[in-house]
């Protein structure tokens, strides 16, 4: 699922077999990180996440498309500013 960047990371995705280069599985750090990530990413998604999307759906059906998903009580107003800051320059 998350493999899309492997080729570019490996330097262009050429179909060269890793003859001289040590294989990734030989590197315990690379292999460990990859396994850890796969492990975390494959965890089943808790229902609470789907509930959140349900609230979004409900808001959409009401037509207003309001901020139904805003679960945090802390200053929802900063969400837009924060996201705006998150835009690529």
């Amino acid at each position: 699922m998350m493999k899309r960047d492997r080729s570019s990371r490996a330097g262009g995705g050429r179909a060269r077999m890793p003859a001289a280069r040590p294989r990734a599985t030989d590197d315990p750090v690379a292999a460990g990180l990859r396994r850890l990530w796969a492990d975390l990413e494959s965890e089943p998604v808790p229902d609470s996440f789907l509930d959140l999307l349900d609230r979004i759906d409900a808001a959409r059906e009401e037509g207003g498309g309001g901020d139904a998903g805003e679960t945090g009580s802390h200053d929802g107003g900063s969400a837009t500013a924060e996201a705006a800051a998150a835009r690529r320059p």
Binding site: R9, L36, V45, T80, R87
Partner: protein, 201 residues
């Protein structure tokens, strides 16, 4: 501009660029198709977003709260996202900013807070790939947060340039964090700290 977001193609045809800065603010109805596409993006990004949140917070409950709040923020701010641009980087950056703003507000130290289950895992004799993951987790816990983040983002499939966007730092800094993080992890895995359980049958 990077085009790593595969699902962007799906969002593209139905969702022309949002014209106004805040389509919902003045009561202007947003296009349902655009919202639908945005929701699909949110749904698809949940697993990697949770994984990254875990890398930031360590603890599963904290990480899930963090991820949900970030998703809610993203939904609230969807008008500021331009369809077809890098949704993953946009979303991960919201999560990261949210994480650090929470910590700044609570004046707490940004700390890795492992699950109880994970702490158990540390002492339990595990084996095979499971043990490898436990070792890496403990190793990551010893790293400075910015190195841990950079390594996780790389694992998430981001290119280095995208990582510099998400982490809001220069490319050279990203490279150095990744290099130092990997080196420290390698030292940790080689180190004598856990020598007693390194041997597995």
């Amino acid at each position: 501009m990077t085009v790593l977001v595969q699902s962007a193609a799906a969002a593209e045809p139905a969702a022309p660029a949002v014209p106004g800065p805040r389509a919902t603010a003045g009561g202007t109805p947003r296009r349902p198709a655009a919202d639908q596409a945005f929701r699909a993006e949110l749904l698809a990004i949940i697993p990697p977003l949770r994984a990254f949140a875990r890398g930031l917070a360590g603890n599963r409950d904290l990480a899930d709260d963090l991820a949900q709040e970030a998703l809610a923020k993203a939904w609230a701010a969807r008008a500021s996202y331009t369809p077809g641009t890098n949704f993953r980087a946009w979303m991960f950056r919201i999560l990261r900013n949210h994480f650090y703003s929470l910590h700044a507000r609570s004046k707490r130290q940004v700390a890795w807070d492992p699950d109880a289950a994970e702490r158990l895992l540390v002492s339990a004799p595990t084996q095979g790939s499971e043990r490898g993951i436990a070792d890496i987790r403990r190793g990551l816990a010893t790293l400075p947060a910015e190195q841990r983040e950079a390594l996780m983002l790389l694992e998430a499939g981001f290119a280095w340039e995208e990582i510099s966007t998400v982490m809001d730092c220069p490319l050279g800094t990203v490279k150095s964090r990744i290099t130092r993080g990997r080196r420290a992890l390698a030292r940790y895995l080689d180190g004598p700290a856990d020598g007693t359980i390194r041997k597995s049958g």
